[in-house]
């Protein structure tokens, strides 16, 4: 019991001592505020960086306030006055730091803006170059494609004549007496349609022929029907009907003598004439073969 009370007394004495120490420089709240505000400004790196002059002034005013408190007491008018000035000056230092760091950010932002614009322009230029390359390679591709098509037309035993490129489909593409196109003609027609697609200024004339067997009227009609069937097949492949013309010549303009089955077979044919560019296809003259 005794020990406890001694202990308590010691604690109480210590506490008293502490509070005594604490309260001894009993300061005016304005002075306390000035100390705290100046300390806060000093702890702000922006203030140290951008507003050292203002911070120095605040410190000097605080020294004045402390001196006044020491000589005339905390309640003195001058103490309160200098404490107030010091507090306000520390706030001014902070505001000045805000302003200057904002100015620095604006400067940095302007640099960043220029950087963004520059890289945007660069990537725009890169894109333009890439697009030009793409366009060039597309042009090259389409040129190669049209050369290939021309070659293919050649392979279809097309021949270049004064009327245009002439391509002959023989009678194995039709059943006897029928105008229905057989599937063997599909590839040739695909190629002609592709060629016309690639060369939109060109047009075609389809001409149907028969041998001399059978009545003339029937042969005329059959040759017209076969030419029409070929024309329809080309139009079906996406070629404008305006660019396709079909004519039946019957047994006219034979390419062989009609003396034997072999020569008659040669005469049973459909010729496809592709115009030279956008020029009209000249009509057939009585002398016949293209």
């Amino acid at each position: 019991m005794q020990r406890t009370s001694i202990c308590a007394a010691a604690v109480a004495a210590t506490l008293l001592g502490l509070t005594g120490c604490e309260t001894s420089p009993k300061a005016d709240p304005l002075l306390e505020q000035a100390r705290a505000t100046v300390a806060q400004a000093e702890a702000n790196p922006d203030v140290v960086k951008y507003a050292s002059t203002e911070l120095d002034r605040a410190r000097k005013l605080l020294i004045n306030a402390e001196a006044s408190a020491k000589s005339k007491g905390a309640a003195d008018k001058n103490t309160a006055h200098y404490a107030y000035l010091s507090t306000q000056m520390a706030h001014i230092a902070e505001q000045r730091a805000h302003e200057q760091s904002a100015v620095a950010r604006i400067k940095a932002g302007e640099t960043e803006r220029q950087q963004i614009l520059l890289s945007a322009r660069e990537s725009e230029a890169d894109r333009a170059v890439a697009q030009a390359r793409t366009a060039q390679s597309q042009a090259e591709q389409s040129q190669a494609e049209s050369q290939r098509l021309a070659k293919e037309l050649e392979n279809l035993q097309a021949s270049q004549t004064s009327r245009g490129i002439v391509l002959t489909l023989d009678d194995v593409l039709f059943d006897t007496g029928k105008a229905q196109l057989k599937s063997g003609a599909q590839r040739s027609l695909d190629q002609i349609a592709a060629f016309l697609n690639e060369n939109p200024d060109r047009h075609v004339q389809i001409e149907g022929f028969t041998d001399s067997q059978g009545p003339n009227d029937y042969n005329l009609e059959l040759s017209q029907s076969r030419a029409d069937a070929v024309a329809a097949a080309i139009i079906q492949r996406g070629i404008d009907a305006q660019r396709v013309r079909a004519l039946g010549y019957g047994e006219e303009f034979p390419v062989a003598a009609n003396e034997n089955p072999g020569s008659r077979q040669l005469n049973r044919r459909v010729e496809i004439i592709v115009s030279n560019g956008d020029k009209a296809i000249p009509g057939r003259t009585a002398t016949g073969a293209p």
Binding site: K77, N78, H81, Y84, L85, Q88, M89, H91, I92, Q95, R96, H98, E99, A102, V103, R105, I106, G109, E110, E112, R113, I116, L117, S119, A120, R121, S123, E124, R127, A128, Q131, T134
Partner: protein
Amino acid sequence: MITLNGIRNALWCAVAFGIIACASTPMPVEKLAVAKSSIDRAEQAQAAQFAQVELTSARNKFAAAQSAAEKHDAGAAARMADQADIDAQLAESTARAKQQEQLVTEMDAGLRDLRNETLRRDDSGAAPLTPTPATTPPRQ
């Protein structure tokens, strides 16, 4: 002679500081002038809009300094003038700081828009066969 001196004094004082009557102790005419010019600068910095509390405090203290001077209280006039001056300085620096910070906010928004715009253009540019992007530079 004495009356003449008094009149001359009064005139001189009235010229030096219109409102303050002639006094035995020298009035802090200079401090008042300094405070007034600080208030003017704060007003020019748009403190009325951005630091109204500080500016009002400066004006009130300036008025208090004037009335202390009228009552021939040189000490109070000097203190009030100094406080009006420092309040006006705080009003000015606060107004300037707020305006700069407003500019920073606007700039950040502008940068964000610019970044988004260039990103979008990069995206559209990546797609094949798009038409050439507009050559006009983005808004400044």
